[in-house]
Symmetry: C2
Subunit: 217 residues, 2 copies
């Protein structure tokens, strides 16, 4: 196989699995690795088959002059199937859902915390949750599935900006809470250094706070 597009790549002749989808896209899998093929062509693209004496060649052309040439010396097995339209995947549990759950139960982050609004708008982007604590101080919450340094930097930028707003700082400086299902040690150190509270969120426990009869799974 030879690929030319964003990069140039070559695969020596070997036994592999070729998958050809109905949109013309092609996947070349080896027996291992992960779900990522060794090489591929994404749709939209078209496949042209060139048959010569003792071999078959596929020339796959994608957008932007991407080309994939596959030489087939031997076919161990060939099978074709009609799959029909796929109903699609239902996902649950990413950052958005975590945000919804925490918006419903802000007190799990810190006792006495109440929600002011979700996606609180600022000039440099929305703050995930804007809350108020028992003393009336504003609290900005940044939610991540995985808490690493980038998230702390992001929250810090928000806090810098928010603390210039007299409407928010009336009862004292705006506090920050960094909430994630997992917080990396480096992120925790940086956050602590900046006076930001780190909270590890237990997703299953949060879901348990909702009415179980409303859950699909």
């Amino acid at each position: 196989m030879d690929y030319a597009g964003r990069l140039t790549a070559h695969l020596p002749m070997a036994t592999r699995v070729l998958m050809l989808k109905s949109d013309g896209s092609v996947l070349i899998h080896s027996d291992g690795g992960s779900y990522k093929p060794l090489n591929w062509m994404s749709p939209p693209c078209s496949v042209k088959e060139i048959t010569s004496e003792d071999q078959v060649e596929w020339v796959v052309t994608g957008k932007n002059d991407d080309t994939l040439r596959i030489l087939i010396e031997e076919i161990q097995h060939d099978s074709s199937h009609e799959l029909g339209i796929d109903p699609g995947l239902q996902k649950d549990g990413v950052e958005k859902h975590l945000q919804e759950l925490l918006a419903e139960h802000p007190a799990t982050l810190s006792a006495g915390l109440t929600l002011v609004r979700r996606e609180f708008p600022t000039a440099i982007g929305p703050v995930d949750l804007m809350c108020r604590d028992a003393e009336g101080r504003s609290v900005a919450v940044e939610i991540k599935r995985r808490g690493d340094i980038d998230g702390v930097e992001q929250l810090t930028r928000y806090l810098d900006l928010l603390n210039r707003d007299p409407l928010l700082t009336g009862k004292g400086e705006v506090r920050g809470i960094f909430a994630a299902q997992e917080i990396k040690p480096q992120a925790r150190v940086l956050a602590t250094d900046r006076g930001i509270t780190c909270t590890v969120v237990d997703y299953d426990a949060l879901r348990g706070l909702d009415d179980p009869t409303e859950r699909l799974f």
Copy 2:
């Protein structure tokens, strides 16, 4: 199919392609989309088959209690093949290669520029290229395939550090060059604001500077 791990996901019953690799990993593909399966389990993992009256169930267990349950109502086709060890993919044209080419031809970045060394070590990581200009000033080059804000931040951190080293600043402040095949507008604004020069690199032209007889493709 039901998946429970980092997130929870469900796939309704439909006709799909299941691929089972020798390391136990499982891929569930629909007839379209891209190379990414609808769902999967990455190695290391193990598959257990449970056969009942009128259906087959696969229970795939991965690391961290990830589980994938697949109910199979009907098998339209089943085929197994030994692929053997794969020779692997040969790549060409990513950042590493771009760095090699620019290291050979630093003057294409800025007239009179000469290379001091590649991967110049600092306490916070290596600078892609450390150069010197015609006036003897040090020039730090950060190379990206796609230039966005992160890259400018990275180069800024390097420059802050390098400018504290008297050995480098003897002939004046260390300059920065941000080189990429494509530079995002935001990145260009930020770089300019910080006195960093932006250079769009023409990969094909750079390759042309090398002896064509040395090229494999």
